[in-house]
Amino acid sequence: MERFEYASPSTVKDATALLGPSWNDAQVLAGGTDLISMMKDFVASPKRVVNIKGISELAGILTTRSGLRIGAAVTLDELSMHPLVRSEFPSLITAALGVSSPQIRNMGTVGGDLCQRPRCWYFRSGHGLLAMQDGKSLVPNGENRYHAIFGGAPAYFVSASSLGPALAALGAQVTIASPSGVRSVAVEKFFVTPKTANDREIDLHPNEIVTGIVIPSSAASSKNATYEVRQKEALDWPLATASVALKMSGGKVASARIVMGHVAPTPWAASAAEKSLVGKSIDEASAEKAAEEAVRDAQPLSQNGYKVQLAKVAVKRALLAAAGKA
């Protein structure tokens, strides 16, 4: 790890003032479960680290007029223990508990889950987000069994966020502070597919801090669930996940949100599958059909065709779980 300056501000205003115009100037430290390892591997070497765990504005989960506000520094453990989140948003609980090491849940934060960098081994080995070597991506002809099945060139990594798909399905917003003010962006727009090696995979500038998440009040009436498919029960990222949120009307689907995780550089919305469910009740057949729609446009690489089936199963089971038929 390179040496760095360290500051531990107590307000968001002070924190953003300590950041700089480039990621090399300063980076934000919350749970540290991603940043510290990346600094050890020299994938990130900021000149300054700004600890935001001491900022009280970033803590706590509270009901506001616009919805449920979850502070960016709330840990995954705190999130998963919260009574209101447990009763209203089982999809978030499953996603948070899917981060299956208690130590990581005790350290890692909600904001950190959204901002963590991809686990792509080319990225982690210093080839950048687009895994480039000699002007070409290493992914298509390389080891790609955990890479994307949606999105295609030039980015093949998968978003590592566990909460992202669940929050996107619930229609949540990310609140972001910078030295010049506060802005808000939909979770599904917060994640972006980089076009060039210099782009970031999230809509965040180096002098900005994610301050929290707001889940709209209307989401509380949705039937929601997450289903994860993973190789190991513990200490691993999922291979494919699906989060769904259904608005029901008289036993039929009025509107559906289906967002898959770990299959694309961003949480990946399955719009055709969402439309296919409107006006239908959720049963084996309709869930199976929606799941087929969800993976229809998948473009697997040489080693990850199996992920198409996993994603399909995740969508089907998440739908059945949300409808209480799992």
Binding site: M1, E2, R3, F4, E5, Y6, A7, S8, P9, S10, T11, D14, A15, A17, L18, G20, D25, A26, L29, G32, T33, I36, S37, M39, K40, F42, K47, R48, V49, N51, K53, D77, S100, S101, P102, Q103, I104, N106, M107, E233, A234, L235
Partner: protein, 212 residues
């Protein structure tokens, strides 16, 4: 794998610090190019003190005792425990927050000490394996590990014992499935999981028995 010593040699040349800045000014070297700090000092005094990258004095509360150390901000709590404070129970294995051998308890929650900065651990109550047997008598969790032969090479054991203690503090009457999930953050390459889980279930009974 990098060690703190390796990096420090490389990095000292481009040190980016208040002290480096002042020294640079005196010696006439080109440290002025280090953007942020210069701009910041030209403005109003920053509300938040910035320390490092040189070593800073810190105070840690470990097993109820106060320890003082001098560390660079990049130094992990694990390396501080092991290299400066002679508390070598927590082990450095993966050093990336994925194996659990460095598990300690911070403010009653199990955490990976390899992935916490020592400067960040100030003001928190830290428990390490050394604190479990202050009188030389084994803690019920350690005793249960002994009774169930829950180790082979033993290198993961201090981490497992701390993870188990932290788990039982929150779940005094666990089921087998809960134990399995609750210890999901620790790896044992000898494969002693079965013994470990039995040990935790026995420890739960023994601790419960004592408190009753």
């Amino acid at each position: 794998m990098s060690t703190p010593k390796d990096d420090s040699k490389k990095k000292r040349k481009s040190a980016f610090s208040r002290r480096g800045f002042l020294q640079g000014l005196g010696a006439g070297t080109g440290v002025l190019s280090t953007g942020i700090l210069v701009a910041e000092e030209a403005q109003a005094a920053p509300a938040t003190p910035v320390s490092g990258p040189d070593a800073v004095a810190i105070t840690l509360d470990i097993n109820g005792k106060i320890y003082k150390a001098t560390v660079e901000p990049r130094t992990t709590l694990l390396d501080t425990l092991r290299d400066q404070l002679d508390l070598t129970g927590a082990k450095r294995v993966c050093d990336r927050g994925t194996c659990g051998a460095c598990t300690i308890i911070v403010d009653k929650k199990v955490m990976y000490s390899c992935t916490i900065l020592a400067v960040d651990a100030q003001g928190k109550k830290i428990e390490t394996i050394e604190g479990l047997a202050p009188e030389g008598k084994l803690h019920p969790v350690s005793q249960a590990f002994w009774d169930h032969d829950a180790q082979q090479c033993g290198y993961c054991t201090p981490g497992f014992v701390m993870a188990s203690k932290g788990f039982l503090d929150r779940n005094p009457n666990p089921t087998y499935e809960q134990v399995k999930k609750g210890l999901g953050g620790n790896l044992c390459r000898c494969g002693t999981y079965v013994g470990v889980r039995q040990a935790v279930l026995q420890a739960a009974k023994n601790i419960g028995g004592k408190n009753a």
